[in-house]
């Protein structure tokens, strides 16, 4: 009986052992991998330490972000942590041996460089903890030995890829977010920069009113928003190079910038101190909000310099046509005054000293002039509030142009343009009302037109919309027709019948041709326009094509000579080429 019981007992034990072994049979590498991958989703704390006194502790926040909590509180570098977690998730586990096997192998942990004082990476997740203690690199330098510790299994020595070493970095800078300015720029409502030097103090104050930035101090003027954003982005993208910097005895504070920012009903203050000593310069930022000081590259200090010039709106003029009442352009004795009438039309008054005339002007010409003025930018500020002597020095005794803009709200803007004798290629502009003397990007002679003919209506032929047929014939003995629309309503006809002047060449017409720019251009073709009821027939004479942008036409009826627009030239050119 006893033997029977014993037999049964032993059989059960053996079978149990077989079943247990069979079920629980799993490679140790798989277990290690499972432990690592299972801990990752729930990691709440990461600690990297060489010793208890020099540890870095990072904790996970509820929103998924990571915070550096030791040795000081600061936002962690999310990408560094992302890289760590990704690397752990995809770690190719290479089990060297278990710690228990070391004795059998006649080895010690220290043989692998694992000893007190080597860096430990600890991961905490809920009730699970995992630690990796770094050792020496393998002989082939491809791996590094690590001691793996987790309560679920016995300690083991792993061979991790050598690239994993970077996660044992105990420098705070390796794990901290290196940016410090994280205020969305568009949320900023006001901004104040106080600059203190040994002998001076200045304040620049900017305010955002309905998304338009303006100087509040030291003057009133428009601020170029993108330039402001650029400077602020320079601050926002500057990287901390060191936390808690230590000052030396010979460090000398040369400048202090107090930057206070109001955004989203909160106030943020940063104090940047420019420090010089015999050999180096540095920039230290004091950030009371976080209670910490950090060091930045000293070049950032340049971003706080000269805001009144850097941030000023560079355009000389920026207004809609509807805001303007009068434009007056003067050059020596000649002047042209363009004025809005009560009927909201524009009238021009031309005066050349000896003669004058008045004419209706084309709205498109007004638009073009204002558009051109809008594109003029200051490239360099020379003087603010110049004295008469300074103006004389810069050639303003005999200015070349004077442009006066009068607004409907009775304000005025006057731009006086001159060339200095020293550098004749540089145009200098005085904005009279603001007392600004500057250089501009404008070739004024090309941009500003002072002759009335440039402002006359471009609809020189006054054909209306009833033209139904256009023909072109040679001006010779045979009067050969080279094109006839023949009543077709095609694209060519549409272009030909909508004739207008690109520019007026002369307000007269000679019967044989015209002299222009020293060349004689004889009339070569005649373009005839006939309306659908044949009630009128008008014609123009045109020269040979001069080039791709010039082809002259003249109307005896209107007594005007003009240049054709480019699309008209394209069409005529193709018609005449195909007729040859």
């Amino acid at each position: 009986m006893k033997n029977k019981i014993l037999f049964l007992f032993i059989s059960n034990i053996l079978l149990f052992a077989y079943i247990y072994y069979h079920i629980s049979e799993e490679p140790r590498e798989t277990s290690l991998s499972n432990i690592i991958t299972s801990i990752l989703p729930n990691i709440s704390k990461i600690e990297i330490s060489e010793s208890p006194s020099s540890s870095i502790v990072l904790t996970s926040e509820k929103d998924g972000s990571w915070q550096l909590v030791h040795p000081f509180s600061w936002e962690a570098d999310a990408l560094k942590l992302a890289e760590l977690i990704t690397s752990l998730a995809n770690l190719r586990i290479n089990l060297h041996c278990s710690a228990d096997e070391l004795d059998n192998r006649g080895e010690k942990l220290s043989d692998y460089g694992i000893m007190d004082g080597t860096t430990i990476l600890k991961l905490d997740a809920l009730d699970t903890h995992l630690s990796l203690q770094v050792g020496d690199a393998s002989r082939d330098k491809k791996f590094v030995y690590c001691l793996f510790q987790n309560k679920s299994m016995e300690d083991a020595i792993l061979k991790l890829p050598i690239a994993f070493l970077k996660f044992f970095d105990t420098q705070t800078m390796a794990w901290a977010n290196k940016t410090f300015f994280r205020i969305p720029l568009y949320t900023i409502d006001a901004l104040k920069l106080e600059t203190s030097r040994q002998d001076s103090h200045s304040t620049t104050e900017l305010i955002n009113e309905k998304d338009k930035w303006k100087f509040k101090l030291p003057m009133t003027a428009s601020v170029n928003k993108e330039k402001l954003f650029f400077l602020l982005n320079q601050v926002a993208s500057s990287k901390i190079i060191n936390f808690k910097p230590e000052l030396k005895e010979d460090d000398n504070i040369t400048q202090i910038y107090h930057l206070s920012i109001n955004a989203m009903n909160r106030s943020h203050l940063y104090t940047f101190s420019q420090i010089e000593n015999n050999s180096t310069s540095k920039l230290i930022c004091d950030y009371p909000e976080k209670g910490i000081k950090f060091q930045l590259l000293p070049e950032l200090g340049l971003s706080f310099e000269d805001w009144t010039t850097k941030l000023r709106e560079p355009r000389l003029f920026n207004a809609t046509i509807s805001e303007l009442e009068r434009i007056k352009i003067s050059r020596l004795e000649s002047s042209l005054s363009l004025r809005r009438t009560e009927e909201n039309k524009w009238v021009g008054f031309e005066s050349s000293g000896t003669s004058s005339r008045t004419a209706n002007v084309d709205f498109e010409a007004i638009r073009e002039t204002i558009h051109r003025l809008s594109a003029i930018e200051v490239t360099e500020y020379l003087l603010f509030n110049p004295t008469p002597a300074q103006l004389s020095e810069h050639g303003f005794d005999q200015p070349i142009f004077k442009i006066e803009l009068e607004y409907l709200n009775s304000t005025k803007r006057t731009m006086i343009v001159s060339k200095s004798s020293e550098q004749m290629s540089l145009w200098k502009t005085l904005i009279l009302e603001e007392g600004i003397l500057c250089l501009t990007n404008c070739p004024w002679e090309d941009m500003i037109r002072i002759e009335m003919k440039n402002y006359l209506s471009k609809n020189v032929m006054k054909l209306g919309s009833t033209v139904s047929e256009v023909s072109i014939q040679m001006i010779d003995d045979k009067k050969r027709y080279i094109y006839s629309s023949d009543g077709q309503d095609d694209e060519t006809l549409n272009i030909l019948k909508n004739i207008y002047a690109e520019s007026i060449v002369e307000e007269k017409m000679e019967s044989q041709g015209l002299w222009h720019n020293g060349n004689w251009h004889a009339w070569k073709y005649q373009v005839n326009f006939i309306d659908e009821n044949s009630t009128f027939s008008k014609s123009i004479l045109i020269t040979e094509q001069v080039n791709t942008t010039n082809w002259y036409a003249g109307s005896q009826e209107e007594n005007i000579t003009f240049n054709l627009p480019v699309e008209y030239i394209d069409t005529l050119s193709s018609i005449i080429k195909s007729s040859k």
């Binding site: 077989y18 991958t37 954003f229 920026n318 809609t320 204002i370 070739p443 791709t548």
Partner: protein, 868 residues
């Protein structure tokens, strides 16, 4: 006690039995009837469900040899599937019922796709699933390892019905990306999701993924070959405010191409800062090099969405604010410092720096007064010492506007670079990217060659410009990247000192049209120091099978200056002619297919009428005037000089090529009433001066002064019809006639002088017997032998009749002549009487032989009369 023993024994037996049963189940496979399997999955919504050889083994594992099912569009076949159920029975729910699933092969087929996924391992670890598989699709092989993929939501939905098309539709969308961007290299993509954070890393040259609703993602790409990463992109999106997907990084021929849609989905709004920064970008393709760091902030304010671009590097600093999407105004600035750039462009002529120089400054502003309606942005560009694509550095200033379609209108542009100074305008539209330049000013066309490529430089390669740049006016339009030859260039170049090859023009008016890759150059006119040329040149595209040049023109051609424009095959002929100017009217078609001479011969044709009223020289010989035509028809050259004044005689010359493969020509020459002295000089001073006599001495040409008045009297006429190779006149064969009239031939110093040599014989002759004033010599030329079978030298009384040969190859002469002292008395009967009575005529036969310059004269006394 016994009871306890029995119970213990029973327990032992029961345990043993159970353990044996467990081992039996563990080791035994139990087939499942197909009926039950079908029934179990009947409610899944899948059609045509088929399952083969399903069985349960190892207690908790389900093995299926083959499963196939389909929906309307997709058919799925699974081979050798093993599903392990979760042994943790106490904690099993619908989500974690399966602990592991391995499938050897899954094939997903539809009309368009055929995807194979192999070695699938789908495993549950601590409530999170891991998926490993190898995916093959259209030769693309992808290894996927997706860990921590939270399937819980998908699985809970699938409890009711599986929408197979939807499930795989998304997969297919992603696979389309794989196909489009992945190289054929083996790719490993690892993806993890952790607390809403998706992390991707890979070891491949290229990676693609489609991500949605991710808070932050990190992309790292390593180059397998080089070990080190060749690209590292970081993309951040804080909070839920950015919805970036279809982000693609591709490091093949074109390194980076990202496409992201920032329009938020449903509940996601852009009410928080969105930041995207891209660093270390390196592009390769038509443009290659390193790009500066770019930061993009996206935000919403006053119900408008904005994108703010920022960069601050040594290459560029910029701060640009654009309303988003890009259909409204852009404001801000961009400063470019080209000398710090390593960007280069691949042009037809090679790789060159994209730009160089000092700086370029772009400013964008709100456009309150647009020239074109709906153009919300006004911009200006200022550049100094700036060069694009290796042009000469220059200064540029321009302003324009951008409309709501992002079309660019530059209304005013000013540029000064190289020898060019021009103003102009530019329009750039999109969809298609149509452009048009208008340039006007002083322009050296060659200054912009680097922009326009080889087709442009081809036009100007034979032009040189000196002094002040010509006035240039160009319109260049087309579609960037459009079909080849889509562009149209129309330009005018006037004035300036232009030279075409060696012809210098003092004034020019040239019109150029390049359309459909054909280049037309109109000269209207080109003025040179002797007159002007009006005409047209048409160059075919070089890309066509048989490129050609067509010309049509008239005017005064500066022949000497313009010799270099003729085809090199005519060099020999052209070099012999010295003419300052020739009036011409010509047209033609010249094949430029130099690789195929036969084709060239067949296609080149031209007709060239010319006329010169000024003296010219042909091989040094003065020609008072000439007119005629040179033409080429059917591959053969024809030259017909109808009015050539040579040695004061009128002359016609007709030369016809007889073969396209040899230089055989037929020549008809007719010289009438030329001055003998001048003609002599033409032949022996200019044309045969280098010839040596058979005794080695050079022919001694006579100078103008050495001719006596006697020599200048009389006339000479020659006609010749011959056929032979143009390269060797001595090989000619033909016949001709030589006629000399009005000169005392006996005094001519030819063959040592007739009279002088006859006088040596001291023949008893009347005083006028040795005077001869006409010579008529029909001849035949063959292989360098000039054969006279019957020449007659006549004087008032006497005549000499003879025959013989000049060997022009060896410069020897062999003549036999019969002197008839009174043989030229033309009185009937008297002549016969005198011929009988004249004793010398019966005795003297003159034999002249030896070198042409100094032949020997012998008199032979023959018993028999000479044959007539």
């Amino acid at each position: 006690m016994k009871y306890i023993k029995r119970v213990f024994l029973f327990f032992q037996w029961a345990t043993l039995s159970l353990q044996l049963l467990f081992i039996f189940i563990l080791k035994t496979s139990i087939p499942i009837p197909e009926y039950f399997a079908h029934k179990a999955l009947a409610e899944s919504g899948l059609n045509s469900f088929n399952i083969n050889n399903a069985n349960i083994f190892e207690g908790s594992k389900l093995g299926i040899e083959k499963v196939s099912f389909s929906s309307n569009q997709i058919k799925v076949i699974l081979q050798n599937s093993i599903i392990s159920l979760n042994p943790n029975i106490a904690n099993v729910n619908s989500v974690n019922a399966i602990s592991e699933c391995t499938i050897d092969n899954v094939r997903i087929c539809s009309d368009e796709l055929n995807i194979e996924i192999e070695n699938i391992n789908f495993k549950l670890i601590n409530d999170f699933y891991h998926l490993d598989c190898e995916l093959q699709w259209r030769s693309k092989f992808v290894k996927l390892k997706i860990s921590f993929l939270d399937f819980s939501q998908n699985i809970s939905r699938s409890e009711t019905k599986i929408d197979l098309d939807k499930l795989f539709g998304e997969l297919f969308n992603n696979l389309v990306l794989f196909n489009q961007y992945f190289s054929d290299d083996i790719i490993e993509v690892y993806s993890t999701v952790q607390k809403g954070m998706v992390l991707i890393s890979g070891t491949t040259k290229s990676v693609s993924n489609s991500l949605k609703n991710s808070n932050i993602f990190y992309v790292r790409i390593n180059d397998e070959e080089n070990g080190e990463r060749n690209f590292k992109g970081k993309l951040k999106s804080y909070s839920n405010s950015a919805n970036i997907h279809n982000f693609v990084i591709h490091s093949g021929e074109s390194s980076i191409d990202f496409d992201f849609d920032l329009i938020p989905e449903s509940e996601v709004t852009l009410n928080e800062i969105n930041h995207l920064s891209i660093t270390g970008l390196k592009i390769d393709g038509p443009i290659s090099g390193n790009l500066p760091e770019i930061s993009v902030n996206l935000f919403e304010k006053n119900e408008k969405k904005f994108a703010y671009f920022y960069g601050d590097s040594n290459l560029t600093d910029f701060s640009l604010l654009a309303e988003f999407p890009f259909c409204s105004e852009v404001t801000g600035f961009l400063n470019l410092y080209p000398s710090n750039s390593n960007l280069s462009g691949k042009m037809a002529y090679g790789e060159t720096a994209l730009f160089d120089g000092e700086s370029l400054k772009l400013s964008c502003h709100q456009n309150l007064v647009p020239m074109n309606d709906f153009s919300p942005t006004l911009f200006t560009i200022q550049a100094s010492s700036f060069s694009v694509l290796n042009t000469k550095p220059g200064m540029f200033s321009l302003n324009g506007e951008i409309d709501s379609n992002m079309s660019i209108f530059i209304h005013y542009a000013y540029g000064k670079f190289g020898g060019s100074k021009a103003t102009g305008s530019y329009v750039q539209k999109w969809n298609p990217p149509r452009y048009r330049f208008l340039l006007d000013g002083y322009c050296l066309p060659t200054d912009i060659t680097p922009w326009l490529g080889t087709w442009w430089s081809d036009i100007w390669q034979d032009f040189t410009f000196s002094g002040k740049s010509p006035s240039g006016n160009f319109s260049i339009s087309g579609v960037w990247g459009g079909t080849a030859g889509n562009s149209l260039t129309h330009g005018f170049v006037t004035g300036g000192n232009i030279a075409y090859k060696d012809i210098e023009f003092i004034d020019s008016n040239v019109e150029i049209i390049v359309q459909n890759s054909y280049t037309d150059i109109f000269f209207k006119p080109l003025e040179h120091r002797f007159g002007e040329i009006i005409g047209e040149l048409t160059f075919s595209p070089r890309s066509i099978l048989q490129p050609y040049l067509k010309f049509d023109g008239y005017g005064q051609f500066p022949f000497n200056d313009g010799k270099s424009i003729f085809d090199s095959s005519l060099d020999g002929l052209i070099d012999e002619i010295n003419a300052s100017v020739v009036s011409f009217d010509g047209e033609g078609f010249i094949s430029l297919n130099k690789d195929n001479e036969i084709a060239d011969d067949n296609t080149t044709s031209f007709l060239f009428d010319f006329d010169t009223d000024r003296p010219i020289q042909i091989k040094g010989a003065p020609v008072a005037s000439v007119s005629g035509e040179i033409c080429r028809r059917d591959g053969l050259l024809h030259c017909n000089l109808e009015n050539l004044i040579l040695a004061e005689g009128s002359c016609t010359l007709q030369i016809d090529e007889k073969s396209a493969i040899s230089d055989l020509i037929e020549m008809r020459l007719n010289i009438s009433d030329a001055r003998p002295d001048l003609l002599y000089n033409t032949f022996f001073q200019y044309w045969f001066s280098e010839n040596e006599d058979s005794d080695g001495s050079l022919f001694a040409p006579r100078t103008e002064s050495s001719f006596s008045e006697f020599d200048k009297a009389g006339t000479v006429s020659i006609n010749l019809l011959g056929v032979g190779p143009a390269s060797d006149p001595f090989q000619f064969q033909g016949t001709g006639n030589f006629f000399l009239d009005g000169i005392d031939v006996g005094r001519i110093e030819f063959l040592g002088g007739l009279r002088k040599n006859l006088a040596k014989f001291n023949l008893p002759m009347p005083s006028d017997a040795l005077r001869f004033n006409t010579l008529e010599a029909p001849f035949q030329i063959d292989q360098g032998n000039l054969t006279f079978d019957n020449f007659e030298l006549k004087g008032p009384l006497s005549k000499i009749v003879g025959k013989g040969t000049f060997d022009l190859t060896n410069n020897t002469v062999n003549l036999n002549a019969d002197l008839k002292l009174l043989g030229n008395i033309q009185v009937p009967i008297v002549a016969q009487v005198l011929s009988i009575a004249d004793p010398l005529s019966r005795l003297s036969e003159i034999h002249v032989h030896g070198p042409i310059g100094k032949p020997s004269w012998e008199i032979l006394v023959t018993p028999a009369p000479l044959p007539k």
